[in-house]
Subunit: 219 residues, 2 copies
DNA sequence: GAAAATCGGTTGTTTTTGCAACGGAAAAGA
DNA sequence: TCTTTTCCGTTGCAAAAACAACCGATTTTC
């Protein structure tokens, strides 16, 4: 557990705490880590979730397959990001999606209710963590709204433009790479892969952008 | 301000507090109310938001018009619901959508940072409000994920089914009414109104549902 | 109560998207 | 290195959705 302290210190949740303070909270939060091989499930649809999770190493996809096997890719989780936060406070707590490790991954789980319920040891950093938790949730919220924006696009081109220009802004450059291959990007934007491919090439031919593999350049 | 205490008491944010306790917090949170006529803007794209808002009376639409005047309806806010929560914790704090009063509305704004920063009067109910805030944000989060689900549908029919069956579940009956007219429902689901109308009638002819105006019955 | 605006269903046409299948290039695995 | 798998662009066709325009009914406004 100790070896993850430097990583935890960089997360939004524990921002501003010393390694020592984080360490003392881990016990209080009943922290448990899990290791997942590439391709295995971290959480599955129907699981009861009552813990907050943070990805320490690797990469995860939050996704869902419908009756016909059509897959929706809701979001990708990068190291330091938290997930499962939407369900811990729900009555049912039943998880509606699958969380899959797309790389070998390590995840840490917290019993977050311990932070929220009146803390017996009303320590100073508790207050800070609660504040951080609020910021993290708020940011997550913004992310979801952004994704809603992508999907509100009425055509493949609109969805692509809103997603790609957003990504360019986030990475601070018109030249950037995305964490998806074509199939995954199609699932992320809820469109057909071949139609996506067609549209991308059309946009390239029109001089709107350049790309090679998962690297893009907006013009 | 006092006349809104019974309404505030029913909100998620102040759940579990007495009217007296809420009243004493209003000053601490620097609460301010605003009254908006039907059709007027509560918040506009580009505004800097650093306050949490709760709708006390009326109804709001969070929406956005693109370059071509095409409107996306992100969500509808009912009395007691909070909004603006995504932006108060962001660096820029710049609001990306428009919030429009679709009925005469009253809104209350809070300086929520006051709850989060170390409270000089570390009162008991502060802790409770922070916990409530977390639950409220978490619920908002779930709502956004649900809407993402609707928009992930690959056809108008799929979007309709996921939205309508969700609404049926939420209202606990196969017979229910929705807070949108056809045009608004089309904007909410990001589809063309006439195509939506066509699909609805087709589904009715196939015996999947019945409807009249904004009242639906799933079969 | 008359005029104006909104609402929702309908139709026909155009455009876009989905789908299925193929093939070459690159990557992964043995 | 050779085989197998994955990736991604391409094509043709079928299906779906967007668009524009129209109309009767209802609602709103004055």
């Amino acid at each position: 557990m100790e070896k993850f302290l430097p990583i935890l210190q960089k997360t939004k949740l524990f921002a501003g705490l010393t390694e020592q303070e984080i360490f003392s909270m881990l016990g209080c939060l009943d922290a448990k880590t899990g290791v997942y091989q590439r391709g295995s499930a971290v959480l599955s649809r129907g699981d009861t979730v009552n813990r907050l999770a943070i990805l320490l190493e690797g990469a995860l996809h939050i996704q869902r397959d419908d009756y016909w096997g059509k897959r929706s890719l809701l979001s990708r989780i990068a190291p330091g990001e938290l997930f499962g936060e939407a369900y811990i406070a729900s009555e049912s707590g039943v998880f509606l999606n699958d969380v899959i490790a797309v790389e070998d991954s390590t995840v840490i789980f917290f019993d977050v209710s311990k932070i929220l319920t009146t803390c017996t040891s009303a320590c100073l950093f508790h207050t800070l963590v609660v504040r951080n938790l609020f910021f993290a949730l708020s940011e997550k919220n913004r992310r979801l709204v952004r994704k809603l924006d992508y999907l509100s696009g009425h055509s493949i081109r609109e969805r692509l433009i809103s997603y790609l220009s957003d990504e360019a802004g986030r990475q601070g450059s018109g030249s950037f790479s995305i964490p998806f291959n074509r199939q995954q990007l199609a699932e992320f934007l809820s469109v057909d892969r071949s139609a996506l491919s067609k549209e991308l090439c059309k946009m390239r031919d029109e001089g709107l952008l350049e790309f090679e593999k998962n690297r893009f350049k907006l013009l």
